[in-house]
């Protein structure tokens, strides 16, 4: 990528006004306004942010911190709220896969971090998403013997189940669901993770324990509750659907009922 001028001859470039969030840990933040010229329409949003940072470095100013890693839409690191929309105006893509051709010349673009109590700002646009890691640690795994790889055809999985699990497993854990939710709820993320494991044969032994533990950890992390706005589904870069939340609710109800009526292994003291 050539910065400052277009990589291709005659390519359209944009002059932008950027309102970018500036914040240090533990201090209230504010918006900073910057003008950025000659942004090629083929640049990704992150490349545009790189251009802005290079411009700031040349001017001897502090750059904006933002999370990014693979830049091909699968790692879940990018986390920018662009004009109020997590991952920007294009549905079904991450910020790194959003290109500047989706913006107009002269447009003012507001760039903010994920906004949620459970995701405190580390610096500028980078937020701490370790609340998600805690939810995964609580039950987002299966217990399996490690060592030599098992025979692949030992446990057969039907196509329907495999497809459904794969749909849920598409979740990259970016947190756009929390950022887009007007309640700061993580139900889409937790629903995706629970569904991914709960419907596969390998996930069965820990199914109820997993569901209860992950929901409990989610609540403790300070996420909000689901009130069925559907914003998460509309902003998810992997287009995970609300189905995973309905199934999370179903599995949670089932696990709670089973827990309530679980056997103590001893006769009751009442003795009838």
């Amino acid at each position: 990528m050539v910065h400052g001028k277009s990589a291709h001859d005659g390519e359209t470039t944009l002059a932008l006004k950027l309102r970018v969030w500036r914040q240090s840990r533990g201090v209230p933040g504010h918006f900073e306004e910057h003008a950025l010229a000659a942004v090629p329409t083929s640049a990704s949003f992150l490349e545009m942010m790189d251009m802005l940072n290079e411009q700031l470095i040349r001017a001897g100013q502090d750059t904006f911190a933002f999370d990014h890693d693979c830049r091909e839409g699968i790692c879940g690191m990018c986390s920018m709220t662009i004009n109020g929309m997590p991952h920007g105006p294009l549905p079904g893509v991450t910020t790194c896969q959003l290109h500047m051709r989706n913006f107009r010349d002269g447009e003012t673009i507001t760039v903010e971090p994920w906004r949620a109590r459970a995701f405190p700002v580390i610096k500028d646009l980078a937020v701490n998403r370790s609340a998600f890691d805690k939810v995964i640690q609580a039950g987002g795994f299966i217990t399996a013997r490690v060592g030599s790889a098992p025979e692949a055809n030992n446990t057969l999985i039907g196509k329907v189940v495999a497809d459904e699990a794969m749909d849920a497993a598409e979740c990259i854990g970016c947190g756009a669901c929390v950022a887009s939710c007007k309640n700061g709820s993580a139900m889409l993320f937790v629903g995706a993770k629970i569904n991914h494991l709960n419907i596969l044969p390998q996930g069965q032994p820990e199914r109820d324990r997993r569901t209860l533990a992950m929901v409990k950890t989610m609540d403790e992390a300070g996420f909000g509750n689901c009130t069925n706005y559907g914003e998460c589904q509309a902003h998810c870069p992997k287009s995970i659907t609300l189905d995973v939340i309905a199934k999370l609710n179903r599995d949670y109800l089932r696990a709670r009922v089973k827990e309530f009526f679980s056997s103590t292994g001893k006769p009751s003291k009442g003795g009838d």
Binding site: F31, T110, R115, A116, K182, G224, T227, Y229
Partner: protein
């Protein structure tokens, strides 16, 4: 929230159906009121379930709103909405107006303490209702509150299924339609009475 809401949504259908007896004439509605009061056990059993549901609905609603507001931490400076319906976004507000309406409605027709000019209608429910809605302001407040109930139900009835895990993307659209139709049926059923009094169809 969902279970108490389900009970309350069921109640309004029963209440609305009973009210439509107004159109069967003075005898029908008064006999229905008489019948309810003769079965005091049944009446108080239903009332106790209702009171518990209302309190549970309010309590969980307040808790939900406070927790969610705290979790959001202010939200982004530029808020964008892609999918959330007006009904879903106004649930606490429509709920609060409906609560105020319920309080007024109980004072009006159950305790008969307000807006009846101190007239004692005794067992003549029909006359009381006609007199109660002869005030334009009162009738208008009823109708506006019931339209907000329609808005509240249009989101709530569909959400019940999601909370109980009985919904998917195929059924979400259908259940949203069911909820909207249910809301309109309830609202228009109730509204028909003050409207009929105002237009002079019931007197």
């Amino acid at each position: 929230m969902a279970l108490s809401g389900l009970i309350l949504a069921g109640f309004v259908l029963g209440h609305m159906s009973g009210n439509l007896l107004m159109f069967q004439g003075e005898g029908a509605i008064n006999a229905y009121a008489q019948w309810l009061h003769e079965h005091a056990g049944l009446l108080w059993f239903s009332r106790s379930i209702l009171i518990i549901s209302v309190l549970a609905h309010i309590w969980t609603g307040i808790l939900l709103s406070l927790e969610n507001r705290a979790a959001r931490a202010g939200g982004p400076a530029t808020e964008a909405t892609r999918q959330a319906t007006i009904g879903s976004r106004t649930m606490p507000y429509s709920g609060m107006v409906i609560l105020a309406f319920i309080v007024f409605h109980l004072l009006h027709f159950t305790f008969r303490a307000v807006a009846l000019n101190g007239v004692d209608y005794g067992d003549n429910v029909y006359a009381m209702v006609v007199a109660g809605f002869s005030s334009k302001a009162v009738a208008l407040f009823y109708m506006i509150s019931l339209l907000l109930l329609c808005l509240h139900l249009s989101h709530g009835v569909s959400s019940v299924f999601q909370t109980l895990g009985l919904r998917n993307e195929r059924w979400r659209g259908r259940l949203d339609v069911v909820a909207l139709v249910y809301g309109w049926v309830i609202a228009l059923g109730f509204i028909s009475i003050p409207l009929a009094v105002l237009t002079g169809c019931l007197k």
